[in-house]
Subunit: 436 residues, 4 copies
């Protein structure tokens, strides 16, 4: 095997430049016109076959899409911030997925997923990115989950693999996924069929909590989840004059909130339910005619999540019926429960050991508690007989001021960029190992 660690390290300055550029211009799910078009341009420049938008995703399967006017506003914003017009044009309306394909004759097909959307958080102006001038210029949007790094690693891997393509036998598909936050994007890519021939599926996530050099070769504790909005519609009336005249959507909603939370525990594994947001009513003296709930269900397996979801739908529809209200259910996101394949974890472990740049390799799948829609990709590949895993690598930052990076989704999130090159090396080495 070639010295991929050295080759990746040679790209490190470029990787940092990419990462800081993405970090400075973060974009929420389905509005990543700038990031997406730059990724497409660079993949094309390296010689990859590039699929964009409906070429690699099904529009109707996208979830939690912003309004058309919001999408258009961001499209213009992205163009002003340097989006590549010819590629962005293909992404209009929120079709921001990008796939780069490298075919090297017969052999296995390896898919790698890199997500690139940001989180709705206002970045700190005084933490390291702020002090060094690459903090977010977009209000209330921030790369506080490390997807800027993931996209960067994806570009690094693309470059390294292209330069070693004569050592590859098979096909590599580099899948750049939008809208992972809120678990909204993966399903639309899977639905396109682009992964149907994949034999090995790989993705990774940087951790601001684990130190440089740590590697988890798999992950299990991803809860299956469904995100949905529920909208109760009643009828208004003057609360003093005709209290009986309305249809009280807030009564329906309050009944739903209590009964959703009261969905029984399940003895076969962890389940979750949360109504995270409720907005109802208008004037103080008007029977509330509308109530909007944002909620989510989770389960240790897809079946457990489905059990809670089915119960929740029954609660919502019965609560609406109880107060003679209408009900609209809007799907807003979903992820499967996912389990890494031990056989793929062994490959990762062996390759990482050979590389020598990870000093702490953990083969017990980590257990997080959160959810990831990469699980849709894992499930599809596993259903077709392939193997999948989801690795985690450490990137804990210690600044010169003695600070540590904040947790994921906080305003002080940042990573030690020293994690970039080893991750590029790892992904590339796995590709060379599998497609050898």
């Amino acid at each position: 095997m070639p010295n991929l660690v050295a080759a990746a390290q040679a790209l490190q300055d470029k990787l940092i430049t990419y990462r800081r550029d993405f970090h400075q211009y973060p974009e929420s799910g389905w509005t990543e016109f700038r990031t997406g078009s730059l990724l497409a341009k660079r993949l094309a420049a390296l010689g990859y076959q590039v699929l964009i938008g409906e070429e690699c995703q099904v529009a109707e399967e996208r979830m939690g899409l912003p309004s058309a006017s919001e999408l258009e506003k961001h499209y213009q914003r992205a163009l002003e911030q340097g989006a590549v017009p010819e590629y962005a044009a293909l992404m209009q309306g929120g079709l921001t997925a990008v796939v780069g394909i490298l075919e090297c004759g017969p052999g296995p097909v390896l898919g790698m997923r890199f997500d690139f959307d940001a989180v709705d958080v206002q970045e700190s102006a005084t933490f390291r990115p702020g002090r060094e001038g690459f903090n977010s210029v977009n209000p209330n949007v921030m790369h506080s989950c490390g997807h800027d790094c993931h996209a960067t690693v994806g570009l690094g891997v693309a470059e390294l693999l292209m330069s070693h393509k004569d050592q590859l036998k098979g096909t590599v598909k580099l899948v750049f996924q939008p809208a992972e936050e809120g678990v909204r994007g993966a399903k639309s890519i899977v639905a396109s069929g682009i992964l149907d021939d994949v034999d090995y599926m790989l993705a990774g996530h940087v951790s601001s909590g684990a130190p440089l050099g740590y590697l988890h070769t798999g992950r299990n504790g991803m809860l299956a989840t469904t995100k949905l909005d529920a909208i109760f519609t009643g009828a208004p009336a003057h609360a003093g004059g005709t209290p009986h005249g309305g249809k009280n959507a807030l009564l329906a909603a309050a009944t739903a909130v209590l009964n959703l939370q009261a969905i029984p525990r399940h003895s076969e594994g962890a389940t979750r339910i949360n109504v995270g947001r409720l907005n109802a009513g208008t004037g103080r003296n008007v029977i509330p005619d509308k109530a909007h709930l944002a909620l989510e269900t989770r389960g240790a397996t897809s079946a457990l999540n489905q059990h809670v979801y089915d119960y929740a739908i029954r609660v919502l529809s019965s609560a609406a019926a109880m107060h003679d209200c209408g009900l609209q259910i809007l799907p807003m996101g979903a992820a499967q429960g996912g389990v890494s394949d031990p056989a793929f974890m062994e490959i990762v472990s062996r390759v990482a050991t050979e590389l020598g740049c990870f000093h702490h390799i953990d083969n017990n799948p980590s257990d997080g508690g959160g959810s990831e829609d990469y699980t849709y990709m894992m499930e599809r590949v596993q259903q077709k007989g392939g193997l999948a895993t989801f690795v985690g690598y450490g990137g804990k930052l210690h600044t010169t001021q003695g600070e540590e990076s904040g947790g994921h989704h906080t305003a002080e999130f940042d990573v030690d960029e020293g994690c970039l090159a080893p991750s590029v090396a790892l992904f590339a080495a796995i590709a060379l190992d599998i497609l050898k």
Copy 2:
């Protein structure tokens, strides 16, 4: 007009005997085999045409019927306590209504209602009836609403009218109604058609709160009401081992209780809702699979009551659906809102004034807040173009110990029996006035 006051007064000893006998052997709704058969026997002895059970009521329209075994148990109890076997036999299964008819040629038809069931209360052993030895011998049953007096007055009126029958032109129907408590009986009598030709409908109620000599000529404040039981049926499961395995009927019931109570107020008049009783579940560690609610709705008008009832049914069925439970609704009683006809009230007022035995006559309809199923009879007669009213007469007791009679439905309820003869005189005089 003959001197009816004197004639009634001559019956006073007999009236007291009747009343104390009824008082000593009180019988709950639909189990009045003793009281009913005695009434039938005496009416027949006086020369009345007597209708019993299905001759004057529709079995299927009875509400809140006890179980067959309970009915049979009371049938035997009544026979032991002196029921008249040949009449009681016609009442088996709870068909305890009795009507006495006196036809005196062409002329108006006058109906008079006398109810004769008792209340589920344990009588005090130390109040006047106890001290004088005529308190209830039946545990947890007591004439604490004065229906013993009503039945007695009915017998007195029957005797007086029969002795004045040559002065009557028309027909008198003396309707002895069972199961007024819980508003369960009147509807089944109305359904028989026995009142369809009635031109004037009259009933009265003794009050333990108003003094002797007081007379209210009409009453309006009777709330329409519906009594119902709701039974939720789920599925049990071990609460520790399979908390998700059951269908929790208590969750459904608790949701129903809160939302029933939350049915909005109505600006057009008074409404009421009450879940008076809830029994749910078995073992502490078992998901409750059954919940039984006893509830009632009320409204200042039948329409307002219907509005609340319809809402309540929607709440109950939605709460059941919410937790995947079955629901059974059992009708347990009903009464209409009722309004006395001013034209009939004027007749009552004039006749009472002429009699001279009521010193305080109030022509503003009284306003009670409770419910009465005599309203079914009022409604039927009024719908056919007839007139109806519901009078009240004072019977407040002052014992030689200086006590006063307790309120209706209490263990110390009793009346000044001096109210009996004047009431008999009043009813008879009204009959002679209308059928003159």
Copy 3:
């Protein structure tokens, strides 16, 4: 008595001009810097002693005050729209009450209340005001309850009384009240003591539903009411990772909503409760740490309202305790139940009859169902032994297009300005009658 009808009619053009100016520049409660300063300027010009802001109201007793920045924004807006700077300066921070006093030697003290704030409604651009060019220039604010007319009538009365001041013996206090909508303003004026010596208290309200020439001399059906906001504060947590870690303010709020609505009915009179608005939570996957309720209680009397209010506070504080949340209660408005004095109604009736410009005078107090904080003024005057009433006069509009004016608080509200002069005449005539 002088011919006040003719005198008022002579002012009619000026009244229409005033009214349309106020209509075009409507201002929400506590932001009436333009309207208030113009009223003050005109009262001063007529020769009245003028009290402004803290001279006639207690700042701390104002309820439902906008934020300081909002107040400042509207202060600037008002200056741009023609507020009188020297008077507006005295109103900064939302002290917009204005009182004009005319002292004419010894004699009774007569108070008259005119309210002048607008409603948060977007006016129709196509109804009569829009077609004739005097519709609101301020977005989402509109005189859709007729307070523009009330302020105009107040100015007309001020002019007429000043020109007849040699016929007055006593004192007139013209109270121009801000923030009647939401019943937020009257209490702060009463608290200043300005009404403590008033013997007769009068106010009026135009009705878009009753025709010109109709007069109600009193009103009873005003529900006492309390407006309040309740804010539950819990603690956030990740709903997937640490569902037990938060304190769920939405659970507390939902429990409160159901139990508030379930506060029992009262047999002594109408009561109301309404949670008109609930906003809770932030992210879908975060335990909601905050919930904001806007609610109100009402009762046919102040005691009934207090009963509901006390129960509501207990529900709110218990719901907070149940889920370990903090609770903040913010008073947002209040009005008493109010009953017109028949003695004053007789004066109004007699004077109106003498004037001859009202052809339909109704002395049965009207019964609305809504609430009015003028009741605070009535109560204070009545407690001190004075008399108070609240009259209503018809102003239904029939446009040349054959439309009718919309209901109060709708986008098509408008009145027939023919109501202005007769109202001015009535108020002035009552003053001359009482202070003769």
Copy 4:
């Protein structure tokens, strides 16, 4: 080691006789006067030092005690059914614990727990015990959890150890525990201090689901639990006449039920909450003034159970306060979470292997989901530095009719009595091994 299997087998007929006698006269917790006094008599006859009632339990620490009249009734019933008067006398008032002590000089102290109460179930008359004439003669009480076998094994062990006492060095304490059902009895025994010097603590449970010859050497999955009753006390009122006059205990209870069920899940382990029974109210038309809830909390650890319990108490007390009701909390039972010590499990495994009468020995602690108050004993011994375990042995019955025994707590529960002698041998062998 002596041939304990053969020695136990020699007792088998006596064991079956004991077991069937206990089975025929089952007694609920705290009323085991017959079973307890027979156990005491037999232990004394064998030569054991016998402690009874307050000699080995603290009266105040008993939970879920029946009423005094109930206890007295069962005391008389037991005497009629053959209780030993001199021992039963020491148990009056429900002090039914019995401990047999055998001191054999210096050495370790070994405690063995055998529970002997029955379950409130009506036994099938047609299953094997019924067909063979040893089914329960006490209505609604049945040994359907195998405690008849446990008590029998305890007597067998007592006999075997006494006959081998010269081979023992140390002390054996045979603890016969009442009231294990509802987890009510162990705490009162632990509180007496009788286990404070125990070095090894052992108990066993027969399983009707596992076949003969199966042995689990330990158990972990016992959920800590707390059983409690909550009684809300309000005030009654007539629901039609004064709906505002009561204090509605059912509203408080319904609010509690929903919010108890809505206590958030915990990410650190399983939790449970169940309101198994609710009885509230009296008459349909009366505001319910009382509500009685039977509930329980559980947790995978004592800390998790305590977390749920603390939340539940807050919900209950807040729900009471919300509707102005009083609240009484009655502790009804409790058990700790318990974990078997691997070191003791190894001893059990080795001894069982040597005995040769268990063909399937499982050293992975089993995981049930239920609760056991033997955990109080485990905890006390472990806190003092001792070792504890809880073994399970198979006893699945196959009748000659081809039936299998029913599950625990069912009417068809029964066991293959072939399990008795091997269990006696195992317990005795462990004693000889530890006290050798």
